[in-house]
Symmetry: C2
Subunit: 197 residues, 2 copies
């Protein structure tokens, strides 16, 4: 098989991410569940719009590509709700690693390696690029829930501390965004969209 | 209103692109119609995977951002089937320009100008970046239809010459991709997925 045919097979495989549905709701489409493909588009674009607020040097091109690829492993592993139990999250990580091997492995070897490294960097969330990418992945559901009278938070009785812990990649990285997020969380608690715990 | 609040309002407005449905079908999700948000994700990633085949100097970062933003105007203007009549396509262009003014205008002025310029460059399809971006937007439906026994081509009795004319941005720009596309079109005609006209 030629390298081009491998690349096209990979591109066609990506279609399956449009069938992976998340807990987030699309308010503007009758509150149907959001899929991971359109979510990835949204955060890649959001990163472009908001990257001026990051205080550390980042490469927005790398950040956007992390965000475009970060959920591809869900084609095999499925989506897991952000506030699941730790044991479930650990099992999910194993499934995602196997998925990365299979799906990125459809590509020619040099592309396979570079995309896998980018995904591993995103998951580890240690570099400024990966921390900002993680933050975008997590802030968007907060904005969507705020815009949707609590959205998926209400359905799952999510606590304030859970949302703070999930978004604190921004703390120190993008202070202006972090303070905005903290203000939004306070409003959510006042409105009883988040439990005050 | 602060610049940040304008940017967040823009990000939330983007949610509406998830409710704009195209003629393309998602085979892997029971052949439901594809929306323009997930389509934009798919082609931005496809551009990254295939840009090695472009023979002219391009800036893949610009190409990917063109693709992430190129359909936002459909929030107001709706999607128009690729093979519509010229008169309808002209009317659509006017609607899209008004949509660009309104939606990009939600952003702070400097971002508004730069995103609008990027969109205008995409639409004009004259620079290598824009030609490659246009090509990705058009090749993906071809790959999807080939993978789906003719898909939306069959439903609308699309002709071979229409598909060739629509994809010829690749001719001269990315010869290896262009020859692949021409081979696929021949197969589609043999299989009666495209009319031989």
């Amino acid at each position: 098989m030629t390298g081009l045919q491998q690349q096209i097979d990979f591109v066609l495989e990506l279609d399956r991410l449009k069938a992976v549905y998340r807990q987030a709701l699309v308010k503007e489409d009758n509150n149907r569940q959001e899929n991971s493909a359109e979510h990835s588009w949204h955060i890649a674009l959001m990163a472009q719009v908001l990257h001026q607020y990051v205080d550390e040097p980042i490469n927005i091109f790398r950040v956007q590509n992390m965000l475009l690829i970060h959920d591809i492993v869900e084609i095999d592993a499925g989506d897991m709700f952000a506030f699941s139990e730790q044991q479930e999250l650990d099992a999910q990580a194993d499934k995602e690693l196997a998925a990365a091997e299979r799906i990125f492995g459809l590509l020619p070897e040099s592309q396979n390696q570079s995309i896998k490294q980018l995904w591993i960097e995103f998951e580890a969330a240690q570099t400024p690029d990966a921390r900002f990418a993680k933050a975008m992945d997590r802030v968007l559901p907060l904005l969507q829930n705020m815009h949707n009278d609590g959205g998926s938070w209400l359905r799952y009785n999510v606590k304030k501390t859970q949302v703070i812990n999930r978004n604190n990649h921004l703390d120190g990285l993008a202070p202006r965004l972090w303070s905005y997020v903290c203000e939004q969380i306070d409003i959510a608690v006042e409105n009883r969209w988040l439990k005050n715990e």
